[in-house]
């Protein structure tokens, strides 16, 4: 049995907007049960607007209005004790950040302060999370870290605009790994990068994971990246997890009709046979269809799909699916 490090129970986080007196509720994360293990790469896939980024924010405990905590819990397993971060105050959460869990947000190649050299960004970071380090110590720590990860050492003296997008992305990922956190959450770290640079970023993430033996939660819509790095994959659709399985299972034996469309639509080299996308378009999270949110687009729809949403249930030991017709289609 593997040890879990991060768990959610019936997690609900909605955006509540007040528009001219009427409330609009966007169900971005809806009844999500997750269990992420130590020393694994857990991939989360789904189309844009399905709640992937909001789920990561909830996992990191960064819930700020208009996003609200509606119910459920997020548990961190810190030295065999489970801590529910929904009950922690800001200072307690700050202490866990970067040392236990760190977050590489989307578009993180633009998070570096443009008027500070990379070394100053590192120093800032070190002095706010580690006490009792002199500037010289902090610089030494940063320098060693950069060299260990195989990044060129002269980047510490560069300003962010002097580095390419891919290099900035790698600098931010390296920064997130500086204090050897047990969990690194990365949101679309390879998006908007060229393929060769993308591969460099994936390489860096894998290096970090192998060195620290920690957990990486990786969100990307690029199934090719998932196939290359993830141990297990969760597929999200309209705020819910619809399928979860080891990577080989997701690609080799997808069960949920949405996952099947996602996998079957991927173009492959050496195979020019026609590929089709899922019909229709993704639903609005503010106005979800009844029952299973995928039913208007699903070719296998039956009456119960329209009435009631299926729960995520175990099909085999490590394969979970939320579909009424799982096993028969």
């Amino acid at each position: 049995m593997k040890d879990s490090i991060l768990r959610t129970e019936n997690l609900k986080a909605f955006y509540v907007l007040d528009m001219h007196g009427t409330q609009k509720v966007i169900k971005a994360v809806n009844e999500v049960d997750l269990e992420i293990w130590e020393n694994e790469v857990y991939g989360i896939a789904g189309e844009s607007g399905c709640g992937k980024t909001t789920l990561l924010k909830a996992l990191f405990g960064a819930i700020e209005p208009p996003l609200r905590w509606i119910g459920g819990s997020v548990l961190y397993h810190i030295n065999d004790t489970a801590v529910d971060i929904t009950t922690l105050d800001a200072e307690q959460k700050r202490k866990l950040r970067m040392e236990f869990i760190s977050y590489v947000p989307q578009g993180s190649m633009s998070v570096l302060n443009p008027v500070l050299r990379v070394r100053d960004a590192y120093q800032d970071f070190i002095s706010s999370h580690v006490s009792g380090k002199t500037r010289q110590d902090a610089f030494e720590l940063a320098r060693q870290h950069i060299i260990e990860l195989g990044l060129p050492r002269n980047i510490l003296d560069a300003y962010p605009h002097q580095l390419s997008g891919g290099m900035r992305q790698r600098v931010t990922i390296a920064l997130a790994a500086l204090l050897k956190p047990r969990i690194i959450i990365a949101d679309e770290p390879t998006t908007a990068l060229d393929v060769v640079v993308q591969r460099g970023v994936v390489q860096l993430l894998m290096d970090i994971q192998q060195k620290l033996k920690n957990t990486i939660v990786l969100v990307t819509h690029d199934m090719g990246v998932h196939a290359n790095i993830a141990n297990r994959i969760g597929i999200m659709y309209a705020g819910k997890m619809v399928e979860e399985a080891p990577t080989e299972q997701i690609f080799g034996n997808p069960i949920h009709p949405y996952t099947r469309f996602l996998i079957d639509s991927l173009p492959r080299f050496g195979d020019k046979s026609p590929r089709s996308s899922a019909p229709g378009s993704p639903p609005s999270l503010a106005d979800l269809p009844s029952g299973c949110a995928f039913h208007p687009r699903c070719p296998y729809v039956i009456a119960s799909c329209v009435d009631q949403a299926p729960a995520l249930v175990k099909l085999s030991t490590d394969h979970k699916v939320a579909c009424w017709r799982a096993g028969e289609i």
């Binding site: 993308q198 591969r199 819509h221 690029d222 090719g224 996998i263 173009p267 378009s281």
Partner: protein, 318 residues
């Protein structure tokens, strides 16, 4: 052989920096290619390789430094603006940036018809628009009076394709048309290009960095690197059996959606992209695993190997 579009020795030089420390960057360097009627041709490469600049020059948004563009046999084609733009239409990356968010999208359609004098009256125009929208799987009813924000990304990209089709063009220039569209809807747009090619005989210049969809949709492909076309030929030849070391690197770096085929080797990245533009000789020499002495001095010639054009000293006959 009939050629729809011919690009000959096209170059574009950008000057950067101030008066005293001026750097000239050749964004497009002596690029030549042609397109046949009813053909999907891909220009592929990483950002900064000059593929978008090439498209912008063809569309007339940018002046070329040298070189000619021949459209349907006319050399001075770009001077006849109405005729030229009627034949060549563009589709851009971000459909939300294509349309003004404060205008309803149908106004663009009516304006286009007016500008090209394509409809006699309102009913005629509506019929014309409806016909083009049907081609992309939409209809006039679900589209009229709506603002861009009321469409999903995939839908709006279809709308912008329908708009491009209004003038019955013979060539569509699609600059990264699917990179902002969701993975699950991407294939529906790509399939649309195939369908338009088959039903209307439209050619598509497909500009992308996504080699997997390029393989799926196109007939021929040109790989660009730092302003040069380094390899050009049929997609089967170029992507399944890449000859240029850069194409090989690119092809290997695409994450395959197959967990049984993970990367096993490691790569090194270019530290300074800027330098590669200014490099003498072959611009890939700094990263090439097969680099030879003459690669650093001489620019390689275009060499034909089994119907594939390769710009590499490795294939120079002794």
């Amino acid at each position: 052989m009939e050629k729809l579009l011919e690009v000959e020795k096209l170059s574009k030089v950008f000057s950067l920096g101030s008066l005293l420390s001026r750097v000239h960057i050749t964004a497009v360097d002596n690029v030549s290619f042609y397109m046949k009627p009813a053909e999907i041709f891909t220009l592929a490469g990483e950002s900064g390789c000059g593929k978008t600049t090439t498209a912008r020059i063809i569309l007339g948004f940018e002046e070329s430094t040298s070189g000619t563009i021949i459209h349907s046999g006319k050399k001075e084609a770009k001077k006849e603006k109405v005729w030229f733009t009627e034949g060549i239409q563009a589709i851009f990356q971000d459909p939300f940036a294509t349309f003004n968010p404060l205008r309803t999208v149908d106004r663009y359609f009516f304006e286009t018809l007016q500008n090209y004098n394509l409809a006699r009256d309102k009913q005629d125009a509506v019929d014309w628009i409806d016909q083009k929208l049907k081609l992309v799987g939409l209809s006039y009813q679900e589209f009229s009076g709506r603002y861009p924000s009321e469409f999903s990304g995939g839908q709006l990209q279809r709308v912008s394709i329908a708009r491009a089709l209004l003038t019955n063009p013979s060539l569509l220039i699609a600059d990264e048309p699917v990179s902002m569209v969701d993975a699950s809807l991407r294939m529906s747009i790509v399939n649309l290009f195939k369908k338009l090619r088959e039903e209307l005989g439209v050619s598509v210049l497909y500009i992308t960095h996504d080699l997997a969809t390029a393989y799926y949709v196109s007939d021929r492909i040109a790989i660009m690197f730092r302003g040069n076309i380094v390899e050009m030929g049929s997609v089967e030849q170029v992507l399944m059996n890449p000859r240029h070391p850069y194409t090989q690197l690119l092809r290997e770096s695409i994450p395959e959606a197959d967990p049984r085929r993970r990367w096993t080797t490691r790569i090194t990245l270019a530290e300074l992209e800027h330098e590669e533009y200014l490099r003498q000789g072959c611009k890939f020499a700094g990263r090439c695993p097969f680099v030879m002495e003459k690669c650093r001095i001489e620019v390689p010639e275009d060499i034909w190997v089994d119907d594939v054009l390769v710009k590499c000293h490795k294939y120079t006959p002794e």
